[in-house]
C-alpha cells in the first residue's frame, strides 16, 4: 500500500514566500495517495463464475445463488443492482412498482435475449427496391393502414416508456425486456412511416383513438396497461400483421409484416406470462383482470365500429375498391373471426374465460357460436 511521505521539518523564518508554482509544473513528480479500501470484501456472494452456453452468456444465466433471488417485494428504492450490497442512507428514487406481482414474467430474460438476436434495421434489411407502383385505390388503402399502425406503435412507445422508470430494479429482467419492446415499437413506427411515404402515397387519416386513450389512461398499474396494450390491442395487431403479410404486394411489405409480427409475438408472450403470474400471486388480480377485460372490450368495439380501418383493409384484401365490399369484407370477417378466436383462447388460458355470447357487438358476431368459452 502507498504511504504518505514523511512530514518535512519547518523551514527557518524567512521573508514572505513567493507564490507556489502552478501544480502543472510538478506533474511529473511521483505522487502518493492514501486509499481506504473500505469497499473491499463487501459482497453478498463471492466466487460466482457463470459460463457461457451455446447461445452465449445470457441474462438468465446470471440468476445463480443470491443473484437469482427475486423477492416478492422490493423495498429498496435506490438503484442498487440486485445482489449488490446496498448503501444505506441514500434518498429514495421513488419507484411505484415494487411488488413482483406487478410486473414479473419468468420468460422476460429469455425474451430480452431473443429480441436482441432478432434485431433488424428497416433502412437496410427491408428490400425497398421491390416496391412497385400500385393502383391508386390500393396505395391509398396501404397508406391508411400504415397510418393506423403508426398510431398503434406510438401508443406502444408512450405507454411502455411511461411505465419503465417506475419499475424497481429488483426485477431488472422485465425492465430490460421492456427496453427491447419500446425499441421494437420505435422500429415499427419508423418502418410504417417509411412504407407510407415510399410509393407515391402519403399518410392518411389518424385513427379514432378510443383504444389509444384507454391504454394510456391505465393508471391502476402496469398490469392494467398490459391487459389493454399487450393482450387486447397486442393480439389484434398481431392478427392484422398476419393478414397483411398474406396480402402483401411485394417482398418489402412481406418482410415488414413478418418481422413486426415476430416482435409483437414476444410482447404478447410477455403479457400472457405476466398476467398468469400476477393472477396466481396477488389477491384480487384475477377479478380485476376480468373487469378490465369487460371494460376493454367496450372500448375496442367503439374503435371497431369506425369504418376507416375495416374499409382500408378490405380494399387491400380484395386488391382494389371494386371487390372490397364483397371479397374484401369477407376476408376482413375471416380476420376478425381469427382475432376473436385468438383472444378468447388467451382469456381461457389465463383462467378468465369469456362467454362469446356476452361479448359486445360487433365482437360477438365474429365469435364461433359453438365456443362455450369454457
Amino acid at each position: 500500500m502507498a504511504r504518505k511521505p514523511a512530514a518535512k521539518p519547518s523551514p527557518p523564518k524567512q521573508p514572505a514566500p513567493k507564490p507556489a508554482p502552478p501544480k502543472s509544473a510538478v506533474a511529473d513528480e511521483k505522487r502518493t495517495f492514501e486509499p481506504k479500501y473500505n469497499w473491499m470484501n463487501k459482497t453478498r456472494q463471492w466466487g460466482v463464475r457463470v459460463k457461457p452456453g451455446k447461445a452465449g452468456l445470457k441474462l438468465g444465466d446470471l440468476n445463480v445463488g443470491i443473484y437469482g433471488e427475486t423477492p416478492t417485494q422490493w423495498a429498496d428504492q435506490s438503484r442498487n443492482p440486485r445482489g449488490a450490497v446496498p448503501r444505506r442512507g441514500m434518498p429514495p428514487v421513488g419507484y411505484s412498482i415494487r411488488d413482483k406481482a406487478g410486473l414479473w414474467a419468468d420468460c422476460a430474460a429469455d425474451l430480452y435475449e431473443e429480441a436482441i438476436q432478432r434485431r433488424w434495421a428497416p433502412a437496410t434489411d427491408v428490400p425497398w427496391d421491390t416496391i412497385e407502383p400500385l393502383p391508386d385505390d390500393v396505395e391509398h388503402a396501404v397508406c391508411q393502414v400504415c397510418t393506423e399502425l403508426l398510431g398503434y406503435a406510438n401508443v406502444d412507445i408512450e405507454t411502455i416508456t411511461g411505465w419503465q422508470h417506475q419499475m424497481s430494479y429488483g426485477y431488472h429482467e422485465v425492465k430490460q425486456f421492456l427496453a427491447t419492446a419500446s425499441f421494437d415499437a420505435a422500429r415499427h413506427y419508423e418502418c410504417f412511416r417509411k412504407r407510407a411515404l415510399a410509393n407515391g402515397g402519403g399518410l392518411g387519416l389518424e385513427g379514432p383513438g378510443m383504444v389509444n386513450r384507454m391504454i394510456l389512461e391505465s393508471r391502476g398499474g402496469w398490469t392494467e396497461a398490459v391487459v389493454y396494450l399487450l393482450l387486447m390491442r397486442g393480439a389484434f395487431t398481431m392478427t392484422l400483421y398476419k393478414y397483411l403479410g398474406r396480402h402483401a404486394h411485394n417482398d418489402a411489405e412481406r418482410f415488414i409484416y413478418e418481422h413486426a409480427l415476430a416482435d409483437k409475438a414476444r410482447h404478447v408472450t410477455y403479457a400472457l406470462d405476466h398476467l398468469k403470474y400476477a393472477m396466481a400471486h396477488a389477491d384480487d388480480v384475477l377479478q380485476v383482470v376480468r373487469t378490465l377485460i369487460a371494460i376493454g372490450e367496450g372500448g375496442l368495439t367503439r374503435d371497431l365500429r369506425d369504418p376507416v380501418l375495416a374499409e382500408a383493409l378490405a380494399v387491400i384484401f380484395a386488391g382494389g375498391v371494386a371487390k372490397a365490399a364483397g371479397r374484401g369484407m369477407a376476408v376482413y370477417g375471416d380476420m376478425m373471426r381469427d382475432y376473436v378466436a385468438t383472444y378468447l383462447g388467451y382469456c381461457r388460458w389465463l383462467g378468465v374465460p369469456r362467454d362469446p355470447a356476452r361479448l359486445p357487438p360487433p365482437l360477438n358476431e365474429y365469435a364461433d357460436s359453438t365456443d362455450t368459452g369454457a
Binding site: P35, K58, R79, A84, Q176, F183, E206
Partner: protein, 353 residues
C-alpha cells in the same frame, strides 16, 4: 349480425380516401438504405416550431376532429428537444446494435488476482448502477414528448436499448470470473440537481448526455488501458460507440437550443455550472477518492501494490475528461463560460495535473 360478419356485401363509405396528408410522396432509398432522413421530404419533413398535436397523430397525417386528446405532452416546443442530426444518430444506432451474449468473447476471461477481480467487480457494480439512470430517464422523457418530434424520440428509444445492454453486460462481467457484485455507491439517488429530478429536457440532457455520459465516454475510450482481457476490450469498445451517440445527442441539442432560443442561454449556463460541480464527484468513477476510483486505480495500476501508478493514470484520465467536456461545451455553443471566468473547469484541469 353485421354484414361484414355474415359475409354479405356492405356499402363502403370510402370518405377516408379524401382525407389524407400530402400525396404523391415517393421517398427513394439512398446508399444507406431508406433512412429517416430520406423520408423527411416535403411537408412530412417539417417539424413545427410549436406542436398542437394532442391526439398522438403521426406528423403529416390528416387530423380527425373527433379524436381523443390523449397526449398532454409537456415537450411541445421544437427547441425543447430538437437536434439537427437525430435521423443520423438513430439509423447509426440501429446499424450498430450488438449482443452482450454473443458478441463479447467471454471465453477470453481468465482468473485474476483477488484484488484486481474485486476492483473489476466494484467497477462493474458501479457501471451497472449508473446505466440504470441512463435508461430510466430518457424513457420517461420519450413519453412526455409529442410525436411531432419523433426523430429525437427515436434516438432516445435507441439509447434506452443501449443502456439496457450496458446494464446487462456489466452485470455479466461481475458474475463471470469468480467474483460477484459488490457495494452500490448510491451516486445516482434522488439528490437536488440530479439527472432524475430535472424538470426540463435540456436540463436533463446537459446533466445526462453532456457531463455524465461524456465522462463515462472518456473512460470507455480508455478501455485498452483498463481491460484485462479481450472480452473487456470488446465491452469497452462497444459501449464507447453507443455512448458517443448519446453524448452527440446532448451536444447537438444544446447547439440547436443555443441557436434557436438564445433567451435560454443563461439558464443553460446554470445547468452547466451544476454539472461542472459534479464532474469530479462520486458519480465519476475517476473522481476524487471514492470506492470506485480506488478500484479503478487497482485496475489501472495492476494491483494494490501499484495503487499510486493507477492513481496517476486516473488523474490523467480525469484531466482528459475535463478537456473533452470543455471541447463539447464549446462545440455546443457555450464556450464563453471558459473565457469569462464563469467555469472552473480550467482550474480543475490545472488541479488535476
Amino acid at each position: 349480425m353485421s354484414e361484414a360478419a355474415n359475409g354479405a356485401e356492405r356499402e363502403l363509405d370510402l370518405g377516408w380516401m379524401d382525407r389524407t396528408g400530402p400525396l404523391e410522396t415517393r421517398a427513394e432509398p439512398g446508399k444507406y438504405g431508406l433512412t429517416i432522413a430520406d423520408i423527411s421530404i416535403g411537408d412530412y419533413g417539417e417539424a413545427p416550431e410549436a406542436s398542437d398535436n394532442l391526439t398522438g397523430r403521426p406528423r403529416g397525417a390528416a387530423a380527425r376532429p373527433a379524436s381523443y386528446r390523449i397526449g398532454a405532452y409537456p415537450v411541445r416546443s421544437k427547441n425543447d428537444i430538437w437536434l439537427d442530426n437525430a435521423s443520423f444518430l438513430y439509423e447509426e444506432a440501429l446499424q450498430r446494435q450488438w449482443s452482450s451474449a454473443t458478441d463479447v468473447p467471454w471465453h477470453t476471461i481468465e482468473p485474476l488476482p483477488d484484488d484486481v477481480e474485486q476492483a473489476e467487480c466494484q467497477l462493474a457494480t458501479f457501471l451497472t448502477e449508473v446505466e440504470f439512470v441512463a435508461g430510466d430517464v430518457p424513457a420517461r422523457w420519450v413519453s412526455l414528448t409529442t410525436p411531432d418530434f419523433y426523430e429525437p424520440r427515436q434516438v432516445l428509444l435507441a439509447q434506452v436499448m443501449d443502456e439496457s445492454r450496458h446494464m446487462d453486460v456489466f452485470r455479466k462481467r461481475a458474475l463471470a470470473n469468480g467474483g460477484g457484485l459488490m457495494q452500490a455507491t448510491g451516486a445516482t439517488s434522488g439528490f437536488v440537481g440530479s439527472i432524475d429530478l430535472s424538470r426540463d429536457f435540456t436540463e436533463m440532457s446537459s446533466r445526462l448526455h453532456v457531463s455524465g455520459e461524456g465522462s463515462v465516454l472518456t473512460l470507455f475510450r480508455m478501455g485498452e488501458l483498463m481491460a484485462q482481457n479481450e472480452a473487456e476490450k470488446v465491452i469497452y469498445r462497444l459501449c464507447a460507440q453507443d455512448e458517443a451517440r448519446h453524448v452527440a445527442f446532448g451536444v447537438m441539442h444544446l447547439r440547436y437550443m443555443s441557436e434557436t432560443a438564445p433567451e435560454r442561454r443563461e439558464e443553460i449556463h446554470c445547468y452547466l455550472d451544476e454539472a461542472e460541480g459534479g464532474l469530479i464527484g462520486a458519480a465519476n468513477p475517476v473522481g476524487q477518492l471514492t470506492p470506485t476510483s480506488e478500484s479503478m486505480a487497482i485496475i489501472l495500476g495492476g494491483g494494490k501494490d501499484h495503487f499510486d501508478d493507477g492513481m496517476n493514470k486516473i488523474i490523467a484520465i480525469r484531466r482528459r475528461q475535463l478537456q473533452e467536456y470543455r471541447k463539447r461545451v464549446i462545440s455546443a455553443g457555450f464556450g464563453e463560460r471558459f473565457e469569462n471566468g464563469r467555469s472552473r473547469v480550467a482550474q480543475m484541469i490545472e488541479e488535476a495535473a
